[in-house]
Symmetry: D4
């Protein structure tokens, strides 16, 4: 339970006075720990706690932010783009579950388990090839930790379109689809044409030469001739998982 | 009522035999009129009829596609990127409602009215400046014709962030937000940080010099530090409206 | 009959001496008309006469080159990227057949008819949308004037992949396929995955915003995950038609 | 012999019933091994078995795919972009032949030998310089394993055009030519002007500074003033070899 | 005290004749040490001594330049972009103070202390995130060594705009603000809209994918819809600190 | 006099009560006129009133914004990027002074005169060539209307560096310098090396070919080897003038 | 005769005193006519008078500069990038010779004739195609007006390399060669490989699609595998002619 | 003495018959050693022997080419872009002189000495900074081995333009100047404005951020407002030295 909820419930039960509640809300919009201002209201404002972007932060900084969040009641803290060494350092002091391929960690007292899914339906995550799986897993784990049922549909790229068509019923039953592909990124358009739900496209940096580290797939997806497709940054599995979670909780 | 639904209802009522139904579904997945293969199953597959992208088509071609769709029961046909001259040509033979600023038309027997909104909640459309309004209107009209309630919130760019904060309650109540901005496109990040719903970002080509016709805003939005933001093509108001409609109908 | 063949046949029949033949071959590798050096050996070297690229040339220059080629025996001279005004100017002095949409003209005594197809099989030309047709027609007319049977398959873009699958037998019977598409250019990959023949991909400048005038489709096609796909310049219908013709005459 | 052929032959000889054949064809369009869906129909659809793109796959994944293909009757499996360590890992469990320079491996029971060439004619592979040889070898080995006679013509760049002209008769006798060059990539245009057969151009990342890792050669080749030239991705020797093989088997 | 000032003071006190002063000024505009021409007049011309850009110089070259400057009276010499190894080499022969994170060193007799601030007011340095701190520190240390009071305001990115608004009074009191941000770089616009003083924007290479190593933030900042914002090179903390110092000394 | 000042003065003189003042300040942070939210607090927040960016706005919209600002007490309203036709439309209903070359207008009761300069010193505006003058004039008029003394120094590009050196004393006396140049934009570096005050660099789109509409000059200026140079958008004379004004009023 | 020479000759003949000469040289390094500072010393410094770049200048400004130069003794003044209308305006008040294709004019008393060639040898100007001729003529006329013998060799692009080889003796006899080509720009490399003299490469904007307005040719030429090739800006015929002139006068 | 000269002298002295000479010239235009076709006629065609571009070649290949050239009489063979390890390998079997900084080696019997300069005048090589020296040295050594007198003028960048002006007489006396600079590359324009001889500009990859590995300097130099400047590839010291040598031998 987050500290904001604690305050509000204390208020509802009379344990906290109105003035005291006002003071707490006013004085704790974030926790200032010097190198970071940890945002603690976000679970009210955005329906999910702050996520730690691990790249460019030292292990010490990550641990500091984790501890600030734990102090305020967070039980599963997502850390993205975190390498093995830093994950080990965090794991030395806190409970952690780490996926090396996706470079993603969950820290906190409930790090070992995923919450019960409570979304509208299922999130289907498709990849063009085997090499796109790490990015897809970043999306999948993000969605799962936020409370979604995820279906994985890997290696269904358009150069063998029958592989995708053979799983057409999965596409048809999804509430949201995440299409992950590198090279020419055509998967998003074909999926977008088949599906009747929102499609989040994730270009990956898989490819070489004129793929220009994901630029080719990114442009393809932005120019998709299918309707109902929107795009996140190259290799941004987290962003896609987060967005899909939001969509899968619309009206909830 | 679309012709596919007609077939299925005829089947349910005994007016059409199973074999006849099979035949119709098989033989009419699209209407081949030479220069175009009009997709007629899409309202089953995707929850909305095909939209006509007007640019690069002659008025004659547009009329031909409109008529193919009307023959199959469509009553409001959206035509995007259509200039005044072509709209006049279509309007000479069919009922049409045209918005010059957004270069968008609705053709068909019910062109003059919008359908009853039946989505989960409201779609809020915000723009950074006055010059972004045409793209925003393309999104707004698209969403409205697909059955959504739309709230317009124009000229709230981040250089005067108090204008946006003064309307914060609108942001908080939205089911989906479309953020339309050119130049540096920072609106998407600020809105994304405030909102707790999905944000569709639309970069516009408004700007000059190093905006490189929308590239600057596009990159900004793709790199948004806020979670829950995904992006469509530059100036693609239609795509944003269509995506927002899909999200606003999740679970419906 | 080209003048080179005339020389060689004259030699075979004794009408021309060896020395005379040597002299002609030596002195006429091209016709120097000042602003242009008209290449006349190319039909030996490359199996087809020189083609005139109309853009950037004046009507006078085009007429001069046409006349140089006619003098040397060419009966159908292809002129690409030629606008209506220049085509009219050429038509005022020579027999011409002009396709405005594809901006392509055939000049010469046999301008009005196509030669008998003599290739291995059929060339199938597919487009993603209606707006890609002008480029496709440039390819089609080029292939036809060079002696090929062409099958047109327009508006089969991947956002409605069933339209393409419905014509799958055409794809399967082709000797060469030309895939013409703008926006995200995914058509080439899907066709490449279905076909068992070479695919020439032509990116078009159809699209807007982040299509960057064909760059998006170009990169997509270069990064195609399907094997057996190669690419020509943006909007280069002629190049694709010419390449397809060469492939369709392999071993002939 | 592939399993599809086995099924069909069993059908022809009465060893397999029609229903059994239908079942097998229906149930085995691909082999789903979790991280990959191995495409097994492709040798019918495309005249050649699936190729494994080694980059971004673990040695374990590669071995898994190889085994899936071997189970279905493939005797020579091409693996591209595979480094020494992974090749060693594959070689520890299966017969393998590895070319380090071209980073290409052939695995399977017949890995040690090339099949009998059965194409229309010869494939000539030319390079601009010595540094382009690895890419050229990727093309050459791909073409050879697919059943083609290959002629190598290395270091004939246009800065010493007499080196190319001295081998002009090779150019004239080719059925297809692959032109491999980095830096300014002019080789494709000069070869294209000399040859009367299709030319596949492969830009390489050889060069520095404004070659921008192959972009310069790529653009050059796309803009070739010679007709009959099409282009594959930067450093994509495999793609060129595969395309050349298809062309060299037209009508076969 | 610099040697130019020494000369002028010597002139004022009669210790140096006018002719002698002329000669010195004429003959010593810089110190030519072979691989470098150390600029010694710059403290007259520009209000601050030359700074050594460490990248691409050997430790020996850096030491040589430091010694040239010390000989001419400089007591604190700023060395930017200097790694640990080179800093150690310099520190072995001269007094040095080194900041590893910011890769910045101060050498000279007074390396251990900062001068007394003598600017108009305060320089506020804000960052979008924790990962931008190294660049911000380069700016802060540069400004401090040049005699400015610096206020650090880190991790106030626009995805949680309340963190910035909570420190609004700092923004309002600044004389100059340096806004340091990667990803979409929106911080500069929001700060620019709030502040009534000049804002120097520093894009950083923090981010991934379509941030293209700082290009996204750079374009954002150049296209800022706020007035009073100008931009320095990506990661150029030094340039921002130097510029802010100049502005903070206007009229002094 | 602006309406905010009116309110505050009314408060000071007792004409307005504290509660009334609070109300006005709260209720009028901007004037919402539908298509625009005119920012009226900005002269407090930023030391200058809002400026109207004319491009992409209709004449009607511009007039509406002008009138909103006039109602709130503004006497000189700057309108940038406004063409002759729109300027005429504004001039038909309000006092206006228009500079066609710089496409800049001043509207309002005091449009015909400039305010008394009250900055620290002089702003020198230098251009590389004659073709850069329109952008320089946009900067100059902006600075003048904001209360600065401006010195124009045109056509002093670095290909004839003696022209600049001949005016060296102007450079030395400036409080801020604006360096306006297209092509290679080297002026900023040379001026930056000579001056001991902040330099605002404005790249212009003057040039052709590889100047890529100002990109070359922009990159040059961002990479300036001189310290104390910061950059605004291509052709952004207004931005440079505004920034220079802020710097010239530091401490005021 | 230029005014500088006049001064020096006056000094030599005693008509001007030393002091007077000093004064003139000091006070007239350029002629300040407000919008331009006409450089008059350049014929001493650089061996040729200043050239007027017409683009972006009004006819009035051009005339003003021409008159300043005429006053100081110039008899042939080169004006580049000048359109017909401006040329007519100049021609109305001064003697002028205009080449519309190359958009180049020569004004002044001797505008009608070219000076006697006085270079080391011949400048050969080759083009890839007919469309490159306008740029080539800009180079040719520039070189001729500066006193060089020019040989034109047009339409010798590498797609028909025999056309170039047939003129090999011209290439061999040149002192400098200017290679003008668009599209893939391979001409520079082939010429560079054949020639034993410096080659100036001029990329042109001839082409379409992925030629990106000359970028393709520019990169090709910069990456030329031939030695002895250097490059000027896209379409910069003047720059090439000027550089060739300098080379052709080395040692003179 | 090269083998071509040997043949011709043998012919002149009667030691070789005409038929024998013809045969040798015909059969040895290059030496085909498999992975390379060593060009041996180039010293006739181009006035200098072939140079070995070391990058992308193995030590074995380099040695093979060196030996081919030595067999044909070359006594000093230039090898560029060769790292220490390969240089050591070559040095183990042949006489070699190696410059690590410039990554350049000279192999052959006379590797230890430079030839007598025999050019028209001096080549001046200027750099913007200390970090540009390695590229400058590549140019200097290339020019020296080809027989030129070289004057080095390092660290004279435009941010301290007096350092360049102090050496103005060197600039004035040069026959050719090579201007080497990274960052904004303004040196070429300033030198080009001062000099009256051809200037070869070499952009370097020195810089960071928006220098984009030399792109900024490259564009600057291509857009130089000074006449008489042409450009080679980024970091291409060899190309500049070779070109300067050619210019310095014009008429010789």
């Amino acid at each position: 339970m987050s500290d904001i909820r604690k305050t509000l419930e204390g208020l509802a039960t009379g344990a906290v006075s109105v003035d005291e509640a006002m003071l707490r809300l006013k004085t704790e919009p974030f926790d200032d720990i010097g190198y970071a201002k940890v945002d603690l209201h976000r679970d009210i404002r955005q329906g999910a706690a702050e996520v730690i972007y691990g790249e460019g932060k030292t292990a010490e900084q990550i641990i500091g932010i984790v501890e600030s969040m734990m102090r305020h009641g967070h039980e599963r803290i997502l850390i993205t783009r975190i390498d093995q060494a830093k994950a080990d350092a965090v794991g030395a002091v806190h409970r952690i579950s780490y996926n090396k391929e996706a470079r993603i960690a969950i820290a906190g007292d409930k790090a070992g388990s995923m919450p019960e899914p409570d979304g509208v339906g299922k999130i289907v995550i498709a990849t063009g090839g085997t090499s796109d799986i790490p990015v897809a897993e970043e999306a999948a784990l993000t969605a799962e930790v936020l409370g979604n049922e995820v279906v994985r549909l890997y290696d269904v790229g358009v150069s063998g379109v029958h592989r995708l068509l053979a799983r057409k019923e999965l596409i048809m039953q999804a509430t949201v689809i995440i299409a992950v592909a590198g090279m020419e990124g055509a998967l998003a358009s074909v999926v977008g044409g088949l599906a009747d739900c929102p499609v989040i496209a994730v270009p990956t940096s898989v490819g070489y030469g004129a793929s220009f580290k994901g630029l080719s797939a990114l442009l393809s997806m932005l120019n998709s001739c299918a309707s109902g497709v929107s795009v996140v940054n190259i290799d941004n599995g987290f962003g896609a998982g987060y967005m899909a979670n939001m969509i899968n909780h619309v009206g909830k």
